[in-house]
Amino acid sequence: MTELAIKFAGVGKQYRYFTLHNIHLEVPPGQIMGLIGPNGAGKSTTIRILMGLIHQDHGEVRVLDHRMPAEQVAAKWDIGFASEDMRLYDAMTLDWHMRFIRSIYPQWDPAYAQLLLKRFGLLAEQKIRGLSHGQRVKATLLLVLARRPRLLVLDEPTTGLDPVARHEILRELSAVMNDEGRSILFSSHNTQDVEQISDQITFIDRGRIIDSMDKEAYLDRWRRLRLEAPSGIELPALPGVINIRQTGRLAVATSNEFVPGIARAYEQSGARIQMIENMTLEEIFVAKVEHSREEVEA
């Protein structure tokens, strides 16, 4: 199967106080894409357009090779969706929900569902209103996972969860990758999760995609350089360095397109390089957003 699991081409949506601009996104099958961005950036809007719940104003959206929103019914047979603002029926039990989903989707795997109950530490006979936040999130994910859908679309799947619950969920999401025909798109504030399991990362800020690429390549482009600049030395502005902060004789430079030449250039200017560090996705995220905003304001 060579068709993309998800394809956005030139997608835009206009709201009164917010606009989604020119969204291009491609997720090949068998991959995990992590969507990150500040609050209000447009992650949830993008996900809803993906699910066919909102009509885009222009642009093409194809999910599992179905045009959205026109073919959303066909697409939703193979998509498992869970969002942070989604709730189950309070007064009913988890078992009721399992039977509900099971009666709709023929691909429901009862053995896997039982295994998930055990792994997540959930009791099927329990009413939803009696569950803690973490248990409820896990219950919602169980209903999605046990169907083994070809595409998982998750809006903040680990937000607000304790470390054990997070680990349980990441374990199951990773297990999806055993099947190279299955894909995941998830948005998260938890940059550590995104950094860990995503094959591709997409950054959204203020309705625009500011980066979308292979995670390893992306992480590899960024470095933090710790420099010692003796007094009188002026540190040069270099292409590929988006930020330099100097306090006294020590300086920290942030590079978003690192090449060894940058280190050499600093050394030639008289500075000494103490350390060249990789950056975590969280650090990149903050640096990127701050830099983007400075550019817009300039």
Binding site: R171, S174, M177, E180, D199, Q200, D214, K215, E216, N278
Partner: protein, 131 residues
């Protein structure tokens, strides 16, 4: 197949480097022997709960260095070069030594002084082990 590899979050180095290092170590201590099959890229990714692309990067690098061999449809295995384990051990030592040289250069210590420091360190260790 249990890989026995553990990714440490406190380790600041990229995950793919940790994977490379731990695979090399397994081979160096002869847990994994020459020609032995190792987990496929996807299997390891699922096992470690990391992205497939990270494992792929590690495997590509290991293949480039001749440590493992990946065949389309047959999975991956340790390279069949004899003495691979020993070679990896040597490489690791070499890396540590180069690191020591770099660090001493940073501290302004000359290589001759480094030599005597090395002998000193050897004596310290012998002392600790015999006491």
């Amino acid at each position: 197949m249990e890989s026995g590899i553990l990714i440490s979050q406190s380790d600041k180095r990229p995950i793919y480097l940790q994977i490379i290092e731990q695979i090399k170590r397994r081979i160096a201590v002869e847990d994994w022997t020459e020609g032995q099959p190792i987990p496929s890229i996807r299997q390891l990714a699922v096992d470690l709960q990391v992205s497939v692309i990270t494992v792929k990067r590690a495997y590509l690098e290991l293949e480039r260095e001749g440590v493992i061999v990946t065949q389309q449809g047959r999975g991956s295995r340790v390279a069949s070069t004899p003495g691979l384990g020993l070679r990896l051990h040597q490489e690791e030592l070499q890396q540590h030594l180069e690191q020591a040289v770099r660090l001493s250069a940073l501290l302004g210590i000359k290589p001759t002084e480094l030599e005597s420091r090395l002998r000193e360190a050897g004596a310290n260790i012998t002392e600790k082990e015999t006491s």
